[in-house]
Symmetry: D2
């Protein structure tokens, strides 16, 4: 049977090259076209020697394909995608352009007027653990941001079951590849190495996405503080989130910790890429693969709920999840091409 033809818009960023790496090994699809913002005409293997075996040339415009991934930056991505959607092509958008349901949020957080607000209701937020059936039926999937993926998966069971107060602190620690391949002083080796800092304390663009999804899961308006941190490593996001327990929902003491754990195990029992761990997760144990590791617990002294999650920001936080969505959209087994274990150490 012929393989499904897929295209990658902007293969030259880190999400794009990761898509190419993973799709190259996918048994059911064939990459038929890749584009780049600047390197058009160049062989993929020239810019990215590890992708030499793809044998593809970077084009200016994406060619015919059954499904297209866009790894363009926000605003630019919508421009590329809208004509494809109008032509009936299936699209997974890795940018933020179709994640938010309220078009006004794009003016507020991204500084542009959304060019196709009518598509926002039909775009599906591509977190399969929450929207599996909708993804399977979608023509346009908005792949979640890296921070939101780790944060929402960490908090979803607790919010859905109403065991925590809607007043949540999310403290995330990200490897530097999350900032992309574009050069900046902040991601210059000598600046980022041997350093940690908090950033975007005035509000990070991934916040409205986290708020939107947690409010859809719970019943109350949430009061969420999200602070991302830059960590001297290439890949991985560890998210630690904190909230007060709603009184009377969970038992006191060690019993409550076990109840909480069971609640998470139950919530994620059928998920191929979520694992509830018995000890705090290490980002290293997700290096290069599509897993999200989650450890929920209770600080018994204060009765506070704590949850920690670990993902690879470029896999479950970007390209891997995009392929997971593609598998659903194409009716393939969800894990196809994503079976690789994490690389350790």
């Amino acid at each position: 049977m012929a393989k499904t033809r897929v295209g990658i818009i902007n293969v030259t960023g880190y999400a794009g090259v990761e898509l190419a790496r993973l799709l190259h090994q996918h048994p059911e699809v064939e990459i038929t076209s890749v584009t780049g913002r600047s390197a058009a005409g160049q062989g993929v293997g020239v810019a990215f020697p590890h992708l030499a075996s793809l044998g593809l040339t970077i084009e200016a415009k994406v060619g015919e394909a059954d499904l297209v991934f866009s790894a363009m930056p926000h605003k630019e991505s919508a421009k590329e995608i809208i004509p494809l959607v109008n032509n009936g092509v299936k699209v997974v958008d890795i940018s933020a352009d179709f994640r938010l349901k309220n078009a006004e949020e794009y003016s507020r957080w991204y500084g542009f007027t959304h060019p196709a607000p009518q598509l926002l209701p039909e775009a599906v937020y591509g977190l399969p653990e929450l929207y599996r059936s909708q993804v399977a039926a979608a023509q346009l999937v908005a792949n979640p941001g890296c921070y939101p993926t780790g944060a929402i998966l960490a908090l979803a069971p607790a919010v859905k079951e109403g065991i925590i107060e809607p007043d949540i602190v999310i403290d995330s620690k990200s490897g530097v590849s999350g900032a992309g391949r574009s050069l900046s002083l902040q991601t210059h080796f000598s600046e980022a190495n041997e350093d940690v800092t908090a950033y975007a304390l005035g509000g990070h663009r991934h916040l409205p996405e986290i708020v939107q999804e947690l409010e859809l899961l719970g019943s109350a308006t949430t009061s969420i503080t999200f602070v991302p941190h830059l960590i001297p490593m290439t890949r991985g996001i560890l998210t630690t989130a904190y909230a007060s327990l709603v009184a009377g929902k969970i038992a006191a003491g060690e019993k409550g910790k076990e109840e909480l754990r069971q609640l998470y195990l139950e919530f994620y029992k059928s998920e191929p890429f979520v694992r509830v761990t018995e000890t705090p997760p290490h980002t290293k144990h997700t290096w290069g693969n599509n897993n999200c590791l989650i450890y929920p617990t209770i600080d018994l002294r204060t009765g506070r709920f704590i949850v920690a999650s670990a993902i690879d920001n470029l896999v479950k936080g970007a390209a891997g999840q995009a392929i997971q969505n593609m598998n659903l959209m194409l009716g393939l087994p969800e894990t196809t091409g994503l079976e690789a274990l994490a690389i350790y150490p």
Copy 2:
């Protein structure tokens, strides 16, 4: 005038070698004796080539000195220190053995019965920003832990002025040297590199110290959750703390952020080693020096107080602060020998 003679008990750990490095450059003191747990008889420069110019031999027992630093692990440190204190020697203890006022906490958190509970009331908690005059008059100073130094300095103005609720989340990110020079799988290069994890979620030993000091500063019993994280870098601790603002104390909006900043600037206006910054601090900007950088702000969407602090865990978090305490105890200018700027990049 003769220099003051100082000794270092257990020079062979990271706090000990850092003490030796800094004291070697101190104009008013002379290191006259250093001990080690295992390397007795060896030249300091053999184990630590960068200290070769000290020209000292590691001894089994500390020699005569006017002031002694102990960088022994807890429990062992008390054993070494008690006879010295009884003999009238001034001591700065870098271990935890005299930090907690309640002797029972040692059974609970450190698993031993304190051998000299009668010394606890007279030992001074060596955070000069809070206890300057007491340190100056003390015979025994308990040098604060690395995490508590960053956390307490970050929160002290807010707690003292009563502008935050006593329900606080402290999320700290530490370089690996904080775990010491003893070998462990957690600090093995290939395990710690390219990894982040949370640890001690059941309660870290530095928690009672943080609680003790914040409760002394404020009026209410505090409910503090403290979660430390291990980060792939050698030096530095970034602490991010979160709490709700007490209603009516601070203005709303940007005005409140400025009021908060002024409150911090006022609180630390005479402090030589604390700097209130205008942007979130980088641990890199404290690399090798004794500064604590603090950035307080408000998440305007939720009205939540956020503060971030950065220190070098081996300097302000250990050896540098110990020397700052020594300077006060000896009546020297507090900054003597600690003027070095951070090493960047």
Copy 3:
């Protein structure tokens, strides 16, 4: 068809876990038994969460299998292997115990008397690029060391064709995982991070292996200096080697560089895992995969031959190459299970 049953002796070192990771994804084999030096009785997923899906328990003694890998340290490995070989089991030994043809070298370099010198002649040095047909027919394969793999592949075409003088300097730079999972001060994070050093200047154990193979390739006795260096990264070995060109073999100037390149391309034209590059290779471009990248060139000012090679020390330098050998021994396509691209960035 039933899968081939394979066992792993000492799965708990870095070569062992990497074997488990790669074999788990191999379509033609099934891991039926794994042993560990200390963790017997524990689930593999407890010690190594990323391997949880293996569902295996660490045993004290390897069970029945068609082919066994040994990732034991030298000397211990021979003890485990000899009975298996005598029982007709196929074995790939990742230790050094069967790499050297001259039994006396084991006394000299490893400090023990070889327990089965009669097996040395029949053991095949498992570098498929040099010994493909012998590996395919072997019962016992000695998997090359990580440094020798990178060095021999880099030098083989030049030595075989006699274009360089047999007076060679090999300067290698290795990530820390090459030193294994056993704890040591040298591999303690705070010691290895932000540091580079040369080691084993008195002679590294991988030297006799390099000498043996290069002398078998060339006609003259070689005079080889090999200096390994420890680099602050987890995976990867870059080897840079230097030698004088034999007069009259290669054209002068740029033409000679191109001749050299063609000679290498020709030598490795059918090799699935060797790629002759057009620019100096990065270890990052081999991260997690089985490739060896080689860049030969000439320093035109001095007429000196220079070659640089890059491998992942745990894949082509250990577990990946072991599986490549296994594929040959089992009559499988050589690349089976080893198709994964490098993970970048």
Copy 4:
């Protein structure tokens, strides 16, 4: 007595900020003026928080001073310096613009016609270990490159004493800060982290400088191959150099190793910043200080001379050495302001 007034041209690169850090702590000089290529008008502490206590504003043009350091890139530096030299100001040039004695080399290696070839003979190559008295008398000192500092100091005793053949391989491993603060893909964190590569195999600009100095030391024309490598750390250069021993100059065996060591000890016996070590040096042991550690040895199997040296590329390899030169030019003790020990770990 009034302090000497010094200026820094281009304080905003890594050599410039390091000069500022070190000079700020120098007891005999005062920084009176600093310039930057782009940040003119900005406070130094805005761009570089760790230098906030300098209290200086970045100017467009350097102000009046007794001695000026230029940390401008090559070609630009000469332009700034020539008028100063003509006005009798003492200058230490950290760029390459006055290092090479042969003006034609600037066309060949740097691609520009030297604007003041008449100054080349009078400019002193600022390696105090070789040119102490000339530096002391100089008006214009050309501060050596980082790689040449480590390589020349490593080889000088052997070349001067004629114990090695003039056919030398120099393999250097540098931290990323050596590539400066300007952004590039090669120094982007996610690219440089977990990677090692060789570069400039066609000839690095520091080569003519190394050749010039080694030929001045020895009697023969040298045939030098120099290959630099980029290592994932911020600071430090380790240089490993290889050459054949001249027959009959050094005893065979262990005795020869000791003779070699004595020769080095004798050569550097009065040097405050050079230390001949008993084991291979670690760059970590020079972190932040002005030392050069050197370990000479012999590979007894091949009779080959090997030497390894370690420096901090921004201190002994740039700013520290510039201050050492300044001290000599001003008649101050050579070590003034450079006494700080290395920061470990």
